[in-house]
């Protein structure tokens, strides 16, 4: 596929994706901006991503972190499923992997916007490595969530996402996911590289299963 055709595919899928998410996106972005403005007002530049370091025999719930982590999942919801299972068949001469990659690019653009807001609104420029790792790994995690939702129902995929977020909150040393909290962030490059590689491998493994997708979704 030439670059020109890929750009056209992107344009078409952006339009469809926007149709699917626009209401959720507007609501979630407003909530997100409000949380960031609150963090700015409290001069907590790390604010929403700080998370929690659990003390022995105690449990603290970082509500802001929990919601912030699940916001992109809430926006994406069933849209990836719909975009693949309903909107790909008419383009079945476009390779399914190319098609899915175009949607990943669109989702990354959305996450980049969230990331940019986090940098710009609280004036967050002190946690450069954390923010880059967070953007990279949360994008990969979103791809994993999306691919899982193709094979399980989106409701189950949501449930898994919530369970993982809760597990991360409860366990100070949960591999990969604990790095999503600034309070637990280890800046060791090797650890972060290893985590990213693991996430990429999961994406690749799930991606290799796309040939089993069944196009049975009902249009909403």
């Amino acid at each position: 596929m030439t670059q020109q055709h890929y750009n056209l595919l992107l344009k078409r899928n952006r339009m469809l994706y926007w149709e699917q998410i626009r209401i959720k996106f507007i609501i979630v972005t407003l909530v997100y901006v409000m949380l960031l403005l609150q963090a700015r007002h409290q001069q907590q530049f790390y604010g929403v991503f700080y998370g929690v370091l659990q003390a022995p025999n105690d449990f603290a719930m970082p509500i802001q972190w929990f919601f912030i982590m699940l916001l992109p999942v809430a926006v994406i919801g069933d849209s990836f499923n719909q975009l693949v299972k309903i909107e790909h068949p008419l383009l079945n001469r476009v390779g399914l992997s190319t098609y899915i990659l175009s949607i990943f690019q669109i989702m990354s653009e959305m996450l980049f916007l969230f990331w940019l807001l986090w940098i710009l609104i609280p004036g967050n420029n002190q946690y450069y490595l954390f923010s880059v790792i967070l953007f990279l790994n949360s994008s990969l995690s979103i791809f994993i969530f999306s691919l899982i939702s193709l094979f399980l129902s989106p409701v189950i995929a949501y449930f898994i996402a919530i369970l993982l977020a809760m597990g991360t909150i409860a366990n100070n040393k949960l591999p990969i996911l604990s790095q999503f909290m600034l309070s637990r962030f280890d800046s060791n490059l090797m650890i972060n590289l290893f985590n990213t590689i693991i996430l990429i491998l999961i994406v690749i493994i799930l991606f290799s299963c796309i040939r089993y997708i069944e196009f049975t979704q009902i249009r909403k």
Binding site: M1, T2, H5, L8, L9, R12, M15, L16, E19, I86, E87, P89, L90, L91, N92, R93, V94, L96, R211, Y212, E214, F215, T216, I218, R219
Partner: protein, 218 residues
């Protein structure tokens, strides 16, 4: 004897432990019109989706023009189809939709005149600048037929094309299918309307509960 272009051998499909396609066997010969009849949920659309490669059977083989679907290739690429749930972009005109599908699927640009001819062929006004979301159900159905005809495929699948068409629309459809047959196309068409199927088909498969319960050669 004409050539077999589509064959299903012992195709089974289960969803949630329920058999929705049960040992489906059929052979489709080129340049014939095949009607698929049966009540809702009988397995007609699912059979079409299986032929197209949108469903992976649990057992059995689906062979389209010599290629094993979901084994050698993921999708049957050279079948034009009109299946209701796979709609076009509502915010674009019919011409824009057909151009976009053509460019993306074939990586070539077709002259607008070809697309306008196609729209006229299915009874739509090629100069209509309305967005598809403002179309009536009948117009959407005709556009869906145009999408199926877009790549001049030899095999065509029309799933319930009579839905939303009035009497004149159905007459048009009968004429169109006869014309396509004259042009050498192989057509698979499902409908609840037995009278309509009898009028256009060479061969009818009767479906019930995921299996073929009868055949009729006309």
């Amino acid at each position: 004897m004409s050539q077999i272009v589509v064959e299903l051998r012992h195709v089974n499909k289960k969803f949630k432990r329920k058999n929705i396609l049960n040992n489906v066997n059929l052979k489709i010969y080129e340049n014939h019109v095949y009607g698929f009849s049966g009540p809702n949920g009988a397995g007609k659309t699912l059979t079409f989706k299986t032929i197209l490669g949108f469903i992976k059977p649990n057992n059995g083989d689906v062979i389209v023009e010599g290629k094993f679907i979901r084994k050698e290739v993921m999708f049957a690429e050279n079948i034009g189809f009109s299946i209701q749930e796979y709609g076009v972009l509502g915010d674009k005109t019919a011409t824009e939709n057909l151009s976009l599908l053509n460019i993306l699927n074939n990586q070539v640009e077709t002259a607008d005149t070809n697309i306008q001819q196609l729209l006229s062929y299915v009874g739509l006004d090629p100069n209509n600048k309305d967005k598809v979301k403002h179309y009536s159900l009948g117009m959407k159905q005709r556009l869906s037929l145009a999408v199926a005809l877009l790549n001049d495929n030899k095999i065509l699948i029309f799933d319930e094309p009579t839905n939303a068409l009035d009497d004149s629309g159905q007459d048009f459809l009968v004429a169109m299918i006869n014309d396509l047959k004259l042009k050498g196309k192989t057509i698979l068409i499902s409908s609840h309307d037995k009278y309509f199927l009898n009028k256009i088909s060479d061969h009818i498969f009767k479906f019930n509960e995921g299996t073929i319960v009868g055949e009729q050669i006309l």
